[in-house]
């Protein structure tokens, strides 16, 4: 009985999708907030200080594990839903006018999610494995003017490559479309639908979906063009 309550039905899968999605959204806020420190444009001193604090803080390091578990749950749950949804319509329509009743991105969450996942693998390879000393290490880089570990220098180095910058911007686009549906969808899945609050949730979702990916996309772009040094 307990097993069914946690994993059983289509609705429970949707609750998990919504909860893990909202959790990943809170991570985006923290991640964007920390990385926005590069915009002080002080040669990365502030950013390196904050990054070092977060990288060594026991609470944040614990949440990092929870974050990976949350991400894996979101991906696995998404794949299960995708598989069932495909099986629910084995024969396709010869002529289907989806544009009459739905937005393309709301019906493409699986593909958008896959693009984000591919981006994440590249992104983790660029920064996370080095900053955690798994493959390579930040020690290979010179310290910053304040004598701190220089994650900022790794960013500058990584974003010298225009192909990398393009991949990051495309990743942010995928995130934008994924959030545009995902944010408000999470509330509906959890049963939070009310005439008075729906417009607020919808508007906040749109603003969030624009601001966060734009902020992320600005980081590689402004480093590539040398607006931040």
């Amino acid at each position: 009985m307990a097993r069914t309550a946690l994993f059983g039905s289509s609705l429970v899968k949707k609750y998990w999708m919504a909860l893990t999605g909202l959790f990943l959204i809170t991570f985006l806020v923290v991640h964007a907030g920390v990385n926005a420190m590069i915009f002080w444009n002080d040669g990365g001193v502030t950013f390196n200080m904050v990054a070092h604090f977060f990288g060594t803080n026991i609470f944040i390091r614990t949440m990092e594990i929870v974050l990976f578990l949350g991400l894996i749950a979101h991906v696995v749950d998404g794949l299960m839903l995708w598989r069932q949804n495909r099986a629910a319509r084995p024969v396709k329509y010869a002529m289907e006018k989806g544009s009459a009743s739905r937005s393309w991105y709301s019906a493409s969450m699986g593909i958008l999610g896959t693009l984000i996942l591919l981006f994440l693998i590249v992104h983790l390879w660029h920064f996370w494995v080095k900053s955690r000393g798994i493959v390579g290490s930040l020690d290979e880089l010179p310290l910053d003017p304040e004598g701190q570990e220089n994650l900022f220098a790794l960013m500058v180095q990584t974003f010298e490559n225009p192909i990398v910058v393009v991949i990051y911007v495309l990743g942010c686009f995928s995130l934008f479309w994924h959030l545009l549906h995902g944010f408000k969808s999470a509330f509906q899945s959890l049963g939070l639908n009310h005439k008075r609050y729906n417009p607020i949730i919808a508007a906040f979702g749109v603003v969030f979906s624009i601001i966060v990916p734009t902020l992320f996309a600005l980081m590689p772009v402004s480093m590539y063009f040398g607006w931040i040094q």
Partner: protein
């Protein structure tokens, strides 16, 4: 106005084991005053006279309340207009020379019986799993108005009960989900005091049956609400999500 010539592309499938395919049917002399089903009647009359097998399609009341008609017309359930069933669609909505695709609902849970007819028994089995209230009808009849019901709730329950179970929601959903139907059937009772005693079991059992019938999962796309002939609101799906969440967490 003169009569129209149309090029119909209609799904033909001789039984559930046949592979099926789209066949062309050019028709002349279609009056703009005909309903879509009358147009098919005329075509079938013609086919019978020529000794061919007429096209099988579901229909009954032909006034938009029985939920039997079910065609996927030019890529949309019940055709291009909103808030109507196929029987309420008129040929004046099409132009002379138009090509019109006519297909059955496509879902694993709605197998094709013949041509455009699908078996919607899955909906009946979901309804039988909990879409009712148990009332003791022996002896003391309770006056219908004895139990007060909030007007706003009564209205919402009535709106949910407007669902005719046609299956357009499943047909429109890219996931083949039946959540709009199930949520309407759960809501029409969940909102009324008479429905509350069995509300938890109802939500659990109807969702369990829905999953067993192999419908897809709701991803809040909202196509069902747009294509529903009875304008059933997504609010009902949120209500089912709440009902089911409460029932799942509290069950022993």
């Amino acid at each position: 106005m003169g009569n129209m010539k149309l090029n119909l592309k209609i799904w033909r499938q001789n039984g559930s084991n046949d592979k099926g395919s789209i066949k062309d049917y050019p028709v002349n002399d279609v009056s703009e005053d005909m309903s879509f089903l009358e147009m098919l009647d005329v075509l079938n009359d013609d086919l019978v006279r020529k000794g061919e097998d007429p096209i099988a399609f579901d229909h009954d009341c032909r006034e938009g309340i029985c939920g039997m008609c079910s065609l996927f017309i030019n890529g949309r359930p019940h055709g291009p207009e909103r808030h109507i069933t196929t029987c309420q669609l008129h040929m004046r909505k099409f132009k002379d020379g138009d090509t019109i695709y006519v297909e059955p609902w496509r879902a694993e849970a709605f197998p094709v019986v013949k041509d455009l007819v699908v078996d919607r028994g899955a909906f009946d089995r979901i309804q039988a799993a909990g879409g009712f209230v148990s009332v003791n009808t022996m002896g003391n009849l309770v006056d219908a108005n004895a139990m007060p019901v909030r007007k706003a709730d009564a209205d919402k329950a009535f709106d949910a009960a407007a669902c005719i179970g046609c299956g357009a929601c499943v047909a429109a959903c890219p996931n083949g989900s039946a959540m709009l139907f199930v949520s309407a059937k759960v809501s029409q009772y969940a909102l009324l005091p008479q429905g509350r005693p069995e509300a938890r079991e109802r939500a659990l059992n109807m969702v369990q049956q829905m999953d067993a019938e192999k419908f897809g999962n709701c991803s809040n796309i909202g196509a069902c609400e747009i294509e529903c002939p009875k304008d059933i609101s997504l609010e009902n799906i949120a209500r089912l999500n709440r009902e089911y969440l409460g029932a799942t967490l509290s069950r022993e």
